[in-house]
């Protein structure tokens, strides 16, 4: 059976799979938090906030993720900031942070689209009823954006799972790293990479089907 080699080296492949999942989840949660704040900044009535939000999005979208990861892992210690004293924890946190910052820019664009898509009348009615700007966001605008924003967030999530493979370049022992290590030890390149491929497909194909189903279900006009 293709991919059998994964069972010969379970401590590499399956630990790698677990690390991939961990970075994906942490990265996605972080990305959603960061992205929502940046999107709020971009639609804010305060012009400096809008500019900062715009700069964030353009910077993190137009630079490669791997450059950002290397900066967090190698550059920050030079500037005095270390994520942790333990190397493994340090690279794991650098990877998760990099994922969150990079994908946060994409989440910001999607959430901004959602915020702008909320019916203007709702916002005007909320403000004229005496709700403050923050209360309006909290009780009227944000809840309504969530519905329209979930399918694109699902797509970003799939991209995030695939992008965790870049963490292997800074030393995180995730799935692609496992395949590389096994290959360098046994020279069974095809088997090792087929195993990694199948495990990645195990993650991304169900996610893809789920997102497609969500999109069909939530036919909110985008």
């Amino acid at each position: 059976m293709p991919g059998e080699i994964a069972f010969e080296f379970p401590e590499l492949f399956f630990t790698g799979l677990w690390l991939t999942i961990q970075i994906s989840v942490l990265g996605l949660v972080g990305a959603i938090v960061i992205g929502t704040f940046v999107a709020l900044a971009r639609v804010s009535p305060l012009v400096p906030l809008r500019w900062i939000g715009g700069a964030y999005v353009e910077f993190f979208r137009n630079t490669p993720l791997i450059v950002q990861l290397f900066f967090l892992f190698l550059g920050l210690p030079f500037l005095g900031f270390r994520f942790s004293t333990d190397t493994f924890e340090s690279i794991f946190r650098a990877a998760a942070t990099g994922m969150a910052l990079y994908h946060g820019a994409y989440v910001a664009e999607v959430v901004r689209g959602g915020l702008l898509g909320v019916d203007r009348g709702q916002i005007e009615a909320a403000r004229s009823l005496g709700l403050s700007y923050v209360q309006m966001l909290q009780h009227v605008q944000l809840p309504q954006t969530f519905r329209s924003v979930i399918p694109p967030l699902g797509n970003i999530g799939i991209a995030l799972v695939k992008n965790t493979s870049l963490a292997s370049t800074i030393g995180v022992a995730e799935l692609l790293y496992a395949a590389e290590i096994v290959e360098s030890r046994t020279f069974r390149t095809y088997e090792a990479f087929i195993a990694a491929t199948m495990l990645y497909l195990l993650l991304t194909i169900p996610l893809g089907i789920a997102v497609n189903a969500l999109e069909r279900r939530m036919l909110v006009v985008r």
């Binding site: 137009n62 450059v67 991209a159």
Partner: protein, 236 residues
């Protein structure tokens, strides 16, 4: 370090390699992607199903995995054709990995364009006696490709960012050049910021150009599909 013009020469060589890889990869991906897009639209099941497997399978994998695989195994893969001593140049291993992934993405973009055209176009051209191939060639594809130019330019931007990944198999594109420089001079912060700025300038210029370039009205369904593709398949 920065006063030394030789260093800037290194950066320039990296940029040149990056642009070269991107253009070759996009050209190759376009041809292959077009073939698979048309394959996925075929009425013959024995063409359609393999096309679906190719496109969806490659879209679901990380680009880096493909690049590293071809970097390690590329030479061995082509030995049956080119003889037992064949060594695949690293440039082509990187281009191959990048192109396979990008061809799947471009196939989806092109298919989105074709499918979004009004059904009347197909019906009219078939009614006028044009065959399926002629319809594609003279009626549907010219319109679809023109509509998809902004999306394809956006994909070029993504490919330029993805070339940063081929450095892992030893090609001296911009990011790898940067790594070579800062391992010698111990200044990763400055070098990485310079590299990031260069990527930013190139990609930002391209994305602004693609935003302003609209060669025709793109129907909402295609617009949504392209946004989904852009979000799901952007790979670093």
């Amino acid at each position: 370090m920065f006063a030394d013009p030789a260093i800037w020469g290194f950066f320039f060589e990296g940029v040149r390699e990056t642009i070269y890889i991107s253009l070759v990869a996009v050209a190759l991906s376009f041809v292959v992607g077009l073939a698979f897009a048309l394959g996925r639209l075929s009425r013959k099941r024995w063409i359609r199903w393999p096309s679906i497997f190719y496109i969806e399978g490659l879209r679901a994998l990380p680009v880096l995995l493909l690049i590293v695989y071809f970097g390690l195994q590329g030479s061995a893969l082509f030995r049956p054709i080119f003889g037992p001593d064949f060594e695949l140049p690293r440039f082509w291993a990187g281009v191959l990995g990048l192109s396979m992934y990008t061809s799947a993405v471009l196939a989806e973009i092109i298919r989105a364009g074709i499918v979004s055209l009004p059904r009347g176009q197909t019906e009219a051209s078939r009614a006028l006696g044009l065959s399926h191939t002629q319809t594609m060639r003279f009626v549907l594809l010219p319109q679809a490709l023109r509509l998809m130019v902004p999306a394809m330019m956006a994909q070029l931007t993504t490919v330029i960012k993805d070339t940063s990944l081929v450095g892992t198999i030893g090609i001296f594109e911009l990011f790898k050049q940067g790594r070579t420089i800062y391992t010698q001079f111990f200044n990763p912060v400055e070098v990485l910021l310079i590299v990031a700025t260069i990527y930013f300038v190139i990609c930002f210029a391209l994305s602004q150009a693609s935003r302003r370039l609209e060669l025709g009205h793109v129907p909402r369904a295609a617009r949504v599909k392209i946004q989904d593709i852009a979000l799901r398949d952007q790979a670093a």
